[in-house]
Structure formats: C-alpha cells, structure tokens
Symmetry: C2
Subunit: 112 residues, 2 copies
DNA sequence: AGGTATTGCGCAATGA
DNA sequence: CTCATTGCGCAATACC
C-alpha cells in the first residue's frame, strides 16, 4: 500500500454517485467481515497447533528417555556378561557400539 | 460492543469541540498502531513456533526410531545368546521385557 | 473488466 | 484520565 491514503472522504474513485456505490460498499463490507473471521480462525488454529505439537513433543521426549534407559541397561547387562568367565572368547573383539550403529543404519540400504 | 455505531461522524461523545478531541484521536490512533504491530508480531512468532516445534518433533521421531532399532537388535542378540549352548542355565527364567521395564522405572524411586 | 479477498487506517466503544 | 484492544466501515490493492 504505497499511497498511504489517510482519510479522504471520497471524491473521484470508488463508484459513481450513490446507488451502485452503496451496493459495492456493502458487498465489500461483507467480504471484509468474511476475511476477518477467516483470519481469526487461522490464528486460533495456529495456536492450537502449537499446543498439539507441544504435547506430541512431550510424549516423544518421554519415549526417548525410556528407550535410552532401556538401552543403557541392556548394554550393561550385555557387557557384564561378556566380561564374564568362559564367555571371553565369544565376546572378544566385539564392538557393541558399532554393532548398534550398524543395526540402525541397515533399515533399507541395499548398496554395497 | 453493544451499540454498533456505524459511522456517525461525531456529535455527542468523545471530546468537546476540536482542540482536545484531535489530540485524543491522534493519541488513540498511535495506540491502535502500536497494538496492531504487536498483534502481528505475536502472530508471526506463533507461526515460527510451529515450525520450530515441527523440527524438534522430526528430530525426536528419528531418535525414537534409531533407539527402537538398536534396542530390538540388542534384544535379539541377547536372546540368541540365551538360547545357546551352555548359557541355558544362566538365562533360564529371565524375563527380558520385565527387566527392561524395571530398568526404565528405576529412575529415582527409592521405595522398596 | 469486474468481482471478491486482503490490508492499512481512522473512529468509537470498551477494557484495564 | 491515559493507554490498549477490538468491531466496524472506507478505500486501495492484491488476486483471480
């Protein structure tokens, strides 16, 4: 809106005299109302979306926390067993972290 | 806004004649402008927040995916070893799922 | 060309 | 009383 028209009552522009002009104004006023309602709805939806995402986020954070703990526990269990008596041979040279990493990367890559 | 004043130029109400009135209007117009700027900023921020949360969400989804895979892999490895030769005795009666569940719940509870 | 949709702006009522 | 917020109408555009 470059020409920042302040409040010229009306002279040239718009319609003609009074008949068509009024109808045009009325129609535009309705359009304005519609537009503003829509705008407010969108704002509301956006705010709702934020709350929704916040919740999803919490759930995911919790999941990560639980999974991380489980994984840690299992790793300990695994390593404890590995450093045990007769299992030395079996677990000798096993890189647990690498195994895990590999297991995660092999989801759908068929290259190599 | 019960009295839906349409567009009466001005008669009673507001100020008095023209001196104080104008100043009052001008000040209000500035306030209106401030208010609207602020409103738009807030809308922008809300939209940015949505995008930000969307990203965080993606990252977390991926983390969950990876951790779940790692965990699955480790469980398989564990169980495979359990159903092995001489380890039957050691793993006999072990409920892996329960162990994992317990390991997750023992974050800070000291009750028995 | 001709309509609707959006947007900046000012006014007035109302909220704080 | 002052400033902030909000419904509303106008006019300029943006959009089709």
């Amino acid at each position: 809106m470059p020409p920042k028209r302040g409040k010229p009552k009306r002279d040239i522009e718009s319609g003609e005299d009074s008949d068509e002009y009024r109808k045009k104004r009325d129609r535009n006023n309705l359009a304005v109302k519609r537009s503003r309602v829509k705008s407010k709805q969108k704002t509301q939806e956006t705010m709702s979306r934020v709350n929704q995402l916040r919740q999803e986020n919490s759930v995911l954070e919790e999941k990560v926390k639980v999974l991380t703990q489980e994984l840690g526990f299992l790793k300990e269990l695994f390593l404890a067993h590995a450093s045990n008596n007769a299992n030395q041979a079996k677990f000798e040279g096993i890189d647990l972290e690498k195994l895990l990493k590999d297991s995660s990367e092999n989801t759908d890559n068929k290259k190599t």
